[in-house]
């Protein structure tokens, strides 16, 4: 696993619980046809001073560059929605086997933040949608 991508992902998603086993798949997915850009991004991130606030640093250093920002957005979408995104759209990822892609889908974090569950997994019990979402 590329540790730079892992720590960057955590900062980009606001430290939601990400599935480390899937980081490789996400990175492969967002890198196709722009490996150089992604590598530049990761190098820039690795050069961040240790005491710099990640959120502040990202806003100042990564957001200004449209291409870097796009990659960051795609990484965020990929983690939140459990698919690999490029240019804001879910893309086929033939480099990754279907079982890993399925595992990625079920690890999407948007749903838990919405007090829901990943679509496709059971919601817990019959009628749970009648009550406020799970803690």
């Amino acid at each position: 696993m590329d540790l730079r991508f892992w720590t960057l992902s955590q900062a980009l998603t606001g430290n939601v619980a990400l599935n480390a086993l899937l980081a490789e798949a996400v990175l492969v997915g967002i890198s196709r046809d722009r490996t150089q850009q992604v590598e530049q991004l990761l190098q820039a991130w690795a050069a961040k001073p240790a005491d710099a606030d990640p959120q502040v640093w990202i806003a100042e250093h990564l957001w200004a560059d449209a291409a870097m920002r796009r990659v960051c957005h795609d990484a965020i979408l990929s983690w939140y929605f459990g698919q690999t995104f490029r240019e804001g759209k879910a893309q086929p990822t033939p480099e990754v086997d279907p079982d890993t892609l399925a595992a990625l889908w079920f690890s999407g974090s948007f749903w838990a933040l919405s007090k829901a569950h990943v679509p496709g997994l059971p919601g817990g019990y019959f009628g749970h949608w009648s009550y406020p979402g799970e803690a």
Binding site: L12, I76, G88, A102
Partner: protein, 543 residues
């Protein structure tokens, strides 16, 4: 004779007929163009799919080659100048019930008599009263959960008995809207939120579990809590019916007004095709509206000015918004309750009736959650701030959608494309479709109603399509082989028999002369069960 009856199409219409007729001891041959689906493989496939469309769980290379199913409006061919037809269907054993939502309202009495009541459209040759018994049996066959007291007599649709199961629990959103908006007056009626009758288990039924809220009903229920027609395919097989899957009906051969067999092409995964002709005492075409009409046209059956014409859908739209308090969407079935007051009214002389659904799926088809998150990122949010935005706003997302009636229009049709055949040599079709002012005229009114609901409930940041003529599809493909008393303007009679063809029948939404505002499946099931009894009598009589 290969069988007493050959049924083309193992969707809900064909499967129910196959089940009833095989129960009565008849030899049934059930044919389906598509392959048999394995549920767990389909879920794995859907989970890994990039585009989570209706067909995503089901794609198979050979099936898509020999028995392709449209998965979006651009998968159809169109006559020049046609608007897009937004609804699709699935050719698999079990048919489109694999990916249907599961809602099973009945048509209401006035839906059957649009011409005599409102001077528009046509009348059905049968009425609600005659079909009621079959509606009740269809509810039992599919396993419909509903609230009898809430529904008995709505718009005159009386019920002879309770639903087989208690209603699906209303969602948190449903309860909130009911609390704040029940009683709201609009256009001469007072709103009431009602639990949507649906073929979705609220308790174990037929050995299938109750709904556990997987929320991907469209396109597949991982646990079969939602009914799909493989239930009755399996029952038919257990009764000794024969199933030929991966078998396309290419042509109905006729001689002097009798069917002289159906030419079948069976394909396999190696790409090999074997052809044969099967003969029976009766033939039932239940291949969904486009394929049924296509088969009749390709066989030269019926008048080409009627067969394939009057194609209808329930055009849709929605208004999305954010509630003041969390409604906790993205859980449970996409729709658990609706608003039905405006499915009837004197104004149907001028404009379409409509049905509202409350959506438990965020902003539904209007905007995907990822597009919403992208918007927030475009506003500069990321990291902790974005996470907080999601936590704060995603649970407040909701939609109210509508589905409006479309009147039969001969100018909405499918026709054979000259000199164009598919991989099996069957002529292909193209569509001509548009949504008339009668339907679009209601859209503005509907939006006003939803905005007043939003105001009563406390929903802000409402959004809807800026173009008032934009419409979506309900997944309801109807009207192409319509039922009627007049052989000149209809394809089948009141018994679903094809005019001038003693032994040939069609059943499905294709036979609907008008469509009201009800999701069609329960009516399809009722018509199929009714037809099965007619066929049973004829077959026993040795006719």
């Amino acid at each position: 004779m290969d069988a007493d009856i050959v049924i083309v199409g193992a969707g809900v219409a064909g499967a129910l007929a196959a089940w009833r007729l095989s129960s009565h001891g008849h030899k049934v041959m059930l044919v389906d163009a598509g392959s048999t689906v394995g549920r767990s493989g389909a879920i794995g496939q859907w989970s890994a799919a990039t585009a989570k469309t209706l067909a995503a769980p089901y794609r198979r290379a050979e099936t898509d080659r020999f028995a392709p199913s449209p998965d979006g409006p651009s998968d159809y061919k169109y006559v020049d100048g046609s608007s897009r037809f937004k609804s699709t269907y699935l050719r698999r054993v079990g048919g489109s019930t694999w990916h249907w939502q599961g809602s099973t309202p009945r048509l209401i009495p006035n839906d059957f008599r649009m011409l005599s009541q409102f001077g528009v459209g046509v009348d059905w040759p049968i009425g609600y009263d005659e079909l009621e018994l079959w509606y009740a049996r269809a509810e039992e066959a599919l396993g419909v959960a509903g609230h009898h007291e809430a529904w008995n007599g709505v718009h005159g649709a009386w019920r002879s008995g309770p639903f087989p199961m208690a209603q699906i629990w209303p969602s948190h959103l449903d309860k909130l809207v009911a609390e704040k908006a029940d009683g709201l007056e609009f256009d001469g009626a007072n709103l009431r939120v009602r639990s949507t009758p649906q073929a979705r288990n609220s308790r174990p039924y037929q050995g299938r579990p109750p709904c556990a809220g997987n929320s991907i009903c469209i396109p597949i229920c991982p646990i079969q809590a939602k009914y799909d027609a493989t239930v009755h395919v399996a029952l038919a097989l257990a009764n000794g019916a024969q199933l030929l899957d991966q078998t396309v009906a290419c042509r109905i051969a006729t001689v002097d007004g009798h069917v002289d067999g159906i030419e079948l092409a069976s394909w396999n995964d190696a790409g090999e095709v074997t052809r044969r002709t099967v003969r029976a005492r009766r033939y039932l075409i239940a291949a969904h509206s486009i394929e049924s009409a296509r088969l009749l046209l390709a066989s030269g059956i019926g008048s080409a000015s009627v067969v394939g014409h009057n194609l209808m859908d329930h055009p849709t739209g929605e208004v999305v918004g954010f509630a003041i308090e969390p409604v906790y969407g993205f859980r449970g079935p996409p729709v658990t309750s609706g608003i039905d007051e405006w499915r009837d009214g004197t104004w149907r002389t001028d404009r379409a009736a409509w049905k509202l659904s409350l959506g438990n799926d965020g902003h539904g088809r209007f905007r995907t959650p990822e597009a919403t998150v992208q918007r927030w990122m475009d506003q500069g949010l990321f990291g902790v701030a974005l996470r907080k935005q999601i936590e704060e706003h995603a649970p407040r997302m909701l939609r109210i959608s509508w589905a409006a009636e479309q009147l039969p229009d001969a100018e909405n049709y499918l026709e054979l494309v000259p000199q164009s055949v598919d991989a099996l040599g069957v002529p292909t079709v193209r569509l001509k479709y548009s949504v008339a002012p009668y339907t679009l005229a209601s859209f503005g009114n509907i939006r006003k109603l939803i905005m007043s609901i939003y105001q009563a409930v406390g929903i802000t940041d409402a959004e809807t399509a800026s173009d008032p003529t934009v419409y979506g599809g309900s997944g309801h493909v109807m009207g192409t082989c319509r039922m009627g008393n007049d052989p000149v303007s209809s394809v089948v009679d009141a018994s679903c028999r094809v005019y001038e063809h003693e032994d040939l029948f069609v059943v499905g939404a294709s036979v609907f002369p008008t469509v009201g505002t009800a999701n069609p499946t329960l009516t399809i099931a009722a018509l199929s069960l009714r037809l099965a009894e007619t066929l049973d009598i004829e077959l026993k009589r040795g006719a």
